[in-house]
């Protein structure tokens, strides 16, 4: 009985050390990534906050931004979105979904001849506006398109 208890304690102690080591090892890469990945922007809840973190609160509406997305998306888990910006000097394109828990979905920085064009597929929890924020020079521009979602794609 006694020996068993001793082995058990020993084992528990060893497992504890491993867990600490793993936690320390896992924490490091996340911390390093956080510097690059804009956590504050992606954690922002609600559209005004997300726009504030992106520094695009006063973004002007622009007709030079085209958002190609379905009017009605049957499956919110896969909504194709294509953004084209004809604004000269487009340096970044951000895609935000107004009613998702965290609106900012993706931010693309463009450089060295990349066209003002990105295409991807996003998840939408419910019917919502999809907002695009384009930065060109020191200015921000924005455009909106509503996408109706039949089945949400965030929970499940």
């Amino acid at each position: 009985m006694n020996t068993k208890r001793r082995t058990f304690l020993k084992g528990a102690g060893a497992a504890g050390t491993v867990a600490v080591a793993v936690a320390a090892g896992l924490l490091k890469p996340t911390e390093v990534l956080a510097a690059e990945w804009n956590k504050a922007a992606f954690d922002a809840k609600g559209m005004p906050d997300a726009l504030k973190v992106l520094n695009a609160t006063g973004a002007a509406d622009s007709k030079d931004i085209t958002i190609k997305a379905p009017d009605i998306a049957e499956n919110g888990a896969v909504v194709p979105v294509e953004v084209t910006s004809k604004i000269a000097g487009t340096s970044s394109i951000a895609i935000l979904v107004e009613k998702n828990a965290a609106p900012l979905t993706a931010n693309f920085d463009l450089a060295n001849g990349a066209d003002g064009y990105v295409s991807t597929r996003i998840k939408m929890g419910q019917t919502s506006n999809v907002r695009v924020v384009v930065k060109a020079g020191a200015k921000s521009y924005t455009a909106v398109k509503e996408v109706k979602v039949t089945i949400g794609g965030c929970g499940g």
């Binding site: 996340t30 001849g113 064009y117």
Partner: protein, 104 residues
């Protein structure tokens, strides 16, 4: 290690059209496992970078709200047939993947 991704780059006029299909579960951290009822921890691609001939053309940051097995399309002006396109991604667990293609 992550599964390989598909990449294709095609010259169109004076620019190249690049399409990338990645293999990734893109877990939001909100979904519950149907069997255990436990929340599946978030696991998603955070950063994607693309280079043409070693020059960065696209630097993207993603959230959980990008669909599973993500698709990415972009166009690069001035890239012509024979140019080398490479794409890298990193996810929130530190996993990485890399793919290369030549503009055709």
């Amino acid at each position: 290690m992550a599964e390989p991704m598909k990449i294709r780059a095609q010259a169109e006029g004076d620019s190249a059209n690049v399409k990338v299909l990645m293999n990734h579960p893109m877990e939001t951290g909100q979904r519950k496992d149907a069997k255990t009822g436990q929340v599946v921890p978030a696991h998603f691609i955070q950063t994607v970078t693309a280079q043409v001939n070693g020059k960065t053309v696209l630097d993207a940051q993603w959230s959980q709200a990008i669909s599973k097995n993500p698709f990415l399309g972009f166009k690069v002006k001035g890239a012509k047939a024979g140019d080398k396109v490479s794409v890298n991604w990193t996810d929130n667990k530190g996993d990485k993947n890399h793919a290369e293609a030549v503009v055709a």
